[in-house]
Every structure is written in structure tokens, then in C-alpha cells.
């Protein structure tokens, strides 16, 4: 057992490496909790039900994009009969959600997706306060 020191230090190194993700996340304060978005202050209802928007907002936005760019029609009638101008910055951000870092980026960062929308579309000027 003259190799005891070597064995135990190798074992410690091995355990450290295997558990690296766990303590790395602990030190970076990563929790299992989902992202917290800032909810809009003025609006209670999105252009579609929340469950749909949560899973399929990208499809709705692509649909808006194709309609506006290809047909030139900008009017969107929501299920409740309310009309919206199909436009990312003026409608989605400035009318409701405010700055993208408070809403869009929270989930996108959490899910590690980087949609290219913001390469061209601008951020909202007004940053809405948290609803909480």
C-alpha cells in the first residue's frame, strides 16, 4: 500500500471531474428553476393564448413575416377580434413586452437559442417596469 497517496489523489481527481457539472452549476447559481420573464404592464392578453405563444411564437412570427413581406398586409385579427399591426418592434415590444432583454432574451438565454431577429429588428426604446 505504498501507493496509497497516489490512489487517493487520483480518486479525488476522478470524483472532482465526474461531479464537475454539479458544482460548476452551483457556483454559477444555476438552478433547476425556469427563467423569469418580466410581464407586460399594460396588456393582459397576448395576440394568442399564452400556451400557444409559449410553444409556437416563432411560427406565428414567421407567419406574420411572410404575410407582411410577401402580401403587404399588416393587419392581424386576434381570436378575440382585436386588431394588431403585424410588426415586431412597434407591436410586440413597444406595445407590450418592452425591452427584449427583459422578455425574449430571458428564455432564449436559458434555452441557449439565439434567433437572428435582432440582427436587424430594433430593441424597444421604452423599458417597461416589472409587473411584480
Amino acid at each position: 500500500m505504498r501507493d496509497r497517496g497516489l490512489i487517493y489523489s487520483a480518486l479525488a481527481l476522478f470524483l472532482g471531474l465526474v461531479t464537475f457539472p454539479a458544482w460548476h452549476n452551483l457556483s454559477a447559481h444555476v438552478t433547476g428553476k425556469g427563467p423569469e420573464v418580466r410581464l407586460p404592464v399594460n396588456a393582459k392578453q397576448c395576440v394568442a393564448p399564452v400556451e400557444y405563444m409559449r410553444t409556437s411564437h416563432m411560427n406565428l412570427l414567421i407567419d406574420w413575416r411572410e404575410t407582411v413581406v410577401r402580401t403587404g398586409r399588416r393587419d392581424f385579427t386576434a381570436a378575440g377580434g382585436k386588431h394588431y399591426n403585424m410588426s415586431l418592434t412597434p407591436t410586440c415590444l413597444e406595445q407590450c413586452h418592452g425591452a427584449r432583454k427583459d422578455f425574449c432574451d430571458r428564455c432564449h438565454d436559458y434555452a441557449a437559442v439565439s434567433p437572428p431577429c435582432w440582427n436587424c429588428h430594433q430593441d424597444a426604446k421604452a423599458v417597461l417596469r416589472s409587473a411584480k
Binding site: S87, E94, C120, H121, Q122, K125
Partner: protein
């Protein structure tokens, strides 16, 4: 619900005919947008750039000092450069400024070469662009005989000094050009350059309507188009 094969074929045929008829009616009854530039009025204001400024501010067109990276939707050239061989040394048009922009050709070569259909001819005559779909191959720039298209060699956003939040920016690697302000036309406003011109030198109108001011102007005044011999059918007319 069951449907017989015969009924299915009949319905398919009817739907197809309906779609074709709708497109034909749209093409016949819809507008065909075009522009006339009154060179004589521009000549009285030699240093005026109001239309250029208005357009570039409305559409977040970057002002890049390096001319190799220049992005332009509307620009100015001496008349004899825009219409080579058409101005002799005694002509009063020599040295007159010509406002140049996308000609929204009837037979646009840029549309024919675009591999992704990022640029296409709308029914109202506008040669539109979908920047989402542009892959930056620059075939359209090679095809356009008027130099109406610009390429974003670098990120244009630092060069947009007063961004308009209503209109998106573009990104590196995308081609852009004048869109005849389709976003303003859809809400019933004239193009930004037309609105900005104090001399009313730019006349925008519907070519399909024989009573439109544009058609009357074209009937009354002598006019030229840039390189009509190429067969592209430019829809921007220069009143001389």
C-alpha cells in the same frame, strides 16, 4: 365525409381557375406604381439632397464614409453620367442633377437571377425584397444595369445615426435597395422622397390609371428612361 373522385377533380379544377382569375383581376384592376423625376426642377436646386436624406432616415440606410462600402437607396449623379450619350455639349441638361433610384423594371433582371426569390416583382409593379431570405450572393447586383443595389459589407448599424424604430435595419451580408416605400404605400402615404421634395420634382403615381397626374405628366412632357434599349422596362421616368 366521402367525396367521389370526379367531384374531387372538379373541385380542384374550379379552385385552380378561381386562383388564376383572382390573379388576373388583380393584375388588371390593381395599380402599377411608377415615378417621374422633373430634372428641370432639380436643376434649380443644385445642392438639394432632401429626398436622399428623407429616404435614408426613413429606412435606416447607413452613412458609411468609405465609398467602397457605400449603401444607397436614392443618390445623385450628373445627368450626363446617368444618361451617357444622350447629352451633347450644348444641352441645357449638362450638369443637371439626376436623382437615381431603383427603376422597378417591368422585366427586372435582378429578379430573374435571384436564387432564393428574395427579390420579386409584385403585382403592383414594385420590385420588392425579402431581407430575411437574402443570402448575399450579389447576383442581383451583377444583373442590375443601373447600380441600384448595395451590399452590406459590414454591420451597417453603427452607421445609422438616427434610427427609425418603425423600420428594421439590415445586417452584414445582405443586399438592399429602394422599395418604393411599400410600407408607406400600404397605409396610403406617398414615398418618403416624394413627400420630402419641396419643389415637387418627384411625382409618384399609378401608370395603370390614364387619368392619374403621372400619366398626364408623361403625356404632356418629353421624358427619357435609363437604358431602355436593354429591355428592362424601367418605371422611373425623367422629364427633360
Amino acid at each position: 365525409m366521402t367525396i367521389s373522385r370526379q367531384a374531387f377533380l372538379r373541385l380542384t379544377g374550379l379552385a385552380y381557375l378561381g386562383a388564376v382569375a383572382r390573379k388576373a383581376i388583380g393584375a388588371i384592376t390593381g395599380p402599377r406604381w411608377a415615378m417621374a423625376v422633373d430634372v428641370a426642377k432639380c436643376r434649380t436646386q443644385q445642392n438639394c439632397t432632401k429626398c436622399i436624406v428623407a429616404c435614408h432616415e426613413a429606412h435606416n440606410v447607413p452613412s458609411i464614409p468609405d465609398r467602397r462600402h457605400e449603401v444607397r437607396w436614392v443618390w445623385r449623379e450628373p445627368f450626363e453620367h446617368a444618361f451617357p450619350g444622350q447629352v451633347d455639349e450644348y444641352s441645357s441638361l449638362r450638369g443637371a442633377p439626376a436623382m437615381l433610384l431603383c427603376n422597378h423594371c417591368e422585366n427586372p433582371p435582378c429578379v430573374q437571377v435571384c436564387p432564393t426569390q428574395a427579390t420579386w416583382k409584385r403585382e403592383d409593379g414594385i420590385v420588392a425584397m425579402d431581407w430575411h431570405r437574402c443570402i448575399g450572393c450579389r447576383y442581383c447586383m451583377a444583373a442590375c444595369p443601373y447600380g441600384s443595389r448595395s451590399f452590406n459589407w459590414m454591420d451597417p448599424q453603427p452607421y445609422v445615426h438616427n434610427p427609425n424604430p418603425e423600420f428594421p435595419m439590415r445586417t452584414k451580408g445582405v443586399v438592399e435597395k429602394c422599395t418604393f416605400c411599400s410600407e408607406r404605400l400600404s397605409v396610403g402615404r406617398p414615398p418618403a422622397c416624394v413627400e420630402a421634395c419641396p419643389e415637387k420634382a418627384l411625382v409618384f403615381g399609378n401608370l395603370a390609371d390614364p387619368h392619374s397626374p403621372l400619366r398626364q405628366l408623361l403625356a404632356a412632357r418629353q421624358h427619357v428612361r435609363r437604358r431602355p434599349e436593354l429591355g428592362t422596362g424601367p418605371d422611373v421616368f425623367y422629364l427633360t
